[in-house]
């Protein structure tokens, strides 16, 4: 009780210094939390991947297509439950800055494979029956104020021309990790148009999405698919959805690494700031610690006082930092729009905030504690007066 009282009162003895230190920690934890959230957002696609889905693409590169005829051969492979296919459409809305993920997909099987996209039965039915229909994520529809029935025209970049669509469904993710900024429409619409405009590009898909009967079969099914098309004109590369998503993230791995390093540097800087505060504090109170030792209090009492004060200050800063991370991340996520579609502060990030604050609090107090415990009582008492 006495120790707690002393920790609390000592912590706010120099209010300005303590408040400034807490503000520094708050800003550091906020910056750390935001950077960690950026990293999480970068990996959001990977995190949302299903273990029972495979992606098959051209072995040379994703930009090379695969024949639609592969669909029936893949379906016959043991372990394959569902097969869907699609093309990256790459259209822009009105102007190039309005960029978002848009795909041409085989609608029925695609919705079967991605149950995390929640549509009402009416929306599903309307979408499946309208060849020019499309489905958009909630965030995307909100951003452009689209409503069911809205006529939307995308300007094709890979598939030239203006493409008209009618919004038939607005999906919601089953949880916060699901990207709600996607746009998908009927592959048949794309294919039929290509048959007229550029027949050589018709009947080709960018990728197959395959649902396996059991997740543990995924590796065997992937090998079977690729061996089926070995030595063909379009050899395939099949990988889990997670590996497929990771291949995109790996292209920007250097950026992620830099962000992670910067987040650690922030923690080291704040560690130095708190250590400086604690060193100053301990130096000022060395006489008081000597008095406590004179009265019979042991080294561990002094250690608890200094560690306690350091931890109290850092944890207060941490709590304020975490509390401000959520609204800041929300505002940041909104401003990033479709660039980082899933921008949520994860529980893991909050845990990392606490671990970082705890480490800062403990490490910053180590040197002051050593000094306070190590000083001879007579020397400490001489500092008073």
């Amino acid at each position: 009780m006495l120790i707690l009282k002393l920790i609390l009162r000592n912590a706010f003895r120099h209010k300005l210094r303590t408040v400034l230190t807490i503000v520094s920690i708050t800003i550091a934890i906020l910056a750390f939390g935001l950077l960690r959230t950026v990293v999480s957002a970068w990996y959001a696609g990977v995190a949302a991947s299903s273990a029972s889905r495979l992606i098959t693409r051209n072995a040379i590169s994703l930009v090379f297509p695969l024949p639609i005829s592969y669909k029936d051969k893949i379906r016959q492979i043991s372990g394959v439950k569902t097969i869907s296919y699609g093309n990256w459409f790459g259209g822009v809305y009105i102007e190039e800055k309005n960029f978002f993920a848009n795909f041409a997909v085989e609608p029925s099987t695609y919705l079967d494979l991605y149950p995390e996209f929640n549509l009402t039965p009416d929306e599903t039915k309307a979408f499946l029956h309208d060849r020019k229909g499309f489905v958009a994520g909630r965030k995307l529809a909100d951003k452009y104020s689209w409503q069911i029935g809205s006529l939307v025209t995308l300007k094709g970049t890979i598939f030239p021309g203006n493409w008209d669509f009618v919004l038939r469904g607005i999906y919601r993710g089953k949880d916060k990790t699901i990207d709600e900024t996607q746009f998908f429409f009927h592959w048949d619409y794309l294919n039929e148009t290509m048959k007229k405009m550029a027949p050589r590009r018709a009947d080709q898909v960018g990728f197959y999405m395959i649902g396996v009967t059991r997740p543990e079969l995924a590796a065997d099914v992937a090998v079977s698919i690729d061996s089926t098309f070995k030595n063909s004109l379009a050899e395939t590369l099949t990988e889990t959805e997670k590996a497929f998503q990771l291949s995109f993230v790996s292209m920007t791995e250097a950026i992620v690494t830099v962000i992670e390093i910067v987040s650690l540097i922030i923690i080291f800087i704040i560690m130095a700031v708190v250590a400086n505060t604690m060193v100053m504090t301990t130096r000022e109170r060395i006489g008081e610690y000597a008095v406590l030792k004179t009265l019979g209090f042991g080294g561990w009492h002094i250690a608890v006082l200094i560690f306690g004060e350091s931890l109290l200050i850092t944890l207060l800063g941490c709590l304020l930092g975490i509390a401000s991370t959520f609204p800041t991340a929300h505002a940041f996520g909104e401003s990033m729009g479709t660039f980082l579609p899933v921008f949520n502060v994860e529980t893991k990030t909050v845990a990392l905030d606490f671990i970082a604050a705890l480490s800062v609090g403990l490490v910053a107090a180590v040197i002051p504690v050593r000094r306070a415990i190590g000083i001879r009582i007579a020397d400490g008492l001489r500092r008073i007066g």
């Binding site: 006495l2 009162r9 000592n10 406590l292 004179t294 009582i377 007579a378 007066g385």
Partner: protein
């Protein structure tokens, strides 16, 4: 009151300080005894080693050689942890600059040493109120040191020193930071503690008026002790 039984025995104490390559002798083979219930003043010029001797008796410094027995215990053989525990049970400290903890009230400052005794909160409260009553500061127990005068702070420090009913009271220049009137009050209190409660008091002072309150005056100069003013 019987005052012949020695409560403190100093036997062939030597103490030196090192300043770089130089070894400076502070106490040279000092031996003496302090009887139970004695009020001893230790005088001497600055640097004569009187505070060092007081620190050795109080167990907050270590001698190079010799033995110090307090209440029959040779404290030179105790470890740091044992010494800390011994101090909390047997020594009451009064410092020149009071050395109160500024964030604790008078009550809490006096209560400090009792936290090491295992007494209940109620027992601690009774002890603290009694000690503050002795120094006539019961009505100011909720004041912080910064709200008290120097004399009042020193009275709180005396209450803190006596609250555990220690074997000896050690005072290092207890009136050195006080005006004449406050100094008189403090010395009067110490005199009362010695005469009425039989407390053994060892006081280091420069002030001859303060020393006159003591029953025994010893002088320390250049590391040697004498009973007469050199």
């Amino acid at each position: 009151m019987e005052k012949t039984e020695p409560v403190v025995e100093i036997i062939n104490i030597k103490k030196t300080y090192r300043r770089g390559p130089h070894v400076i002798p502070v106490l040279n083979d000092i031996s003496f005894a302090i009887a139970k219930g004695e009020f001893m003043a230790l005088m001497g010029p600055s640097g004569s080693g009187k505070s060092t001797l007081l620190n050795l008796i109080a167990g907050i410094d270590k001698a190079d050689s010799g033995a110090i027995r307090v209440g029959g215990i040779d404290i030179t053989t105790l470890s740091e942890t044992e010494l800390a525990q011994w101090r909390s049970n047997h020594v009451g400290f009064i410092f020149q600059f009071y050395n109160l903890i500024p964030v604790l009230t008078a009550f809490e400052n006096v209560e400090l040493p009792l936290h090491l005794t295992g007494l209940s909160a109620k027992e601690r409260k009774d002890h603290v109120e009694m000690a503050l009553g002795v120094v006539h500061l019961k009505e100011r127990m909720d004041h912080y040191p910064g709200q008290l005068s120097g004399g009042e702070q020193q009275r709180v420090a005396i209450a803190r020193a006596i609250v555990t009913d220690p074997t000896i009271l050690v005072a290092d220049e207890p009136t050195g930071d006080l005006d004449r009137q406050s100094a008189e009050e403090i010395l009067g209190l110490m005199e009362n503690l010695n005469e009425e409660s039989g407390k053994t008091i060892i006081m280091v002072t420069h002030d001859p008026r303060a020393a006159q309150k003591a029953k025994v005056i010893r002088y320390l100069e250049k590391g040697f002790l004498s009973n007469a003013h050199p």
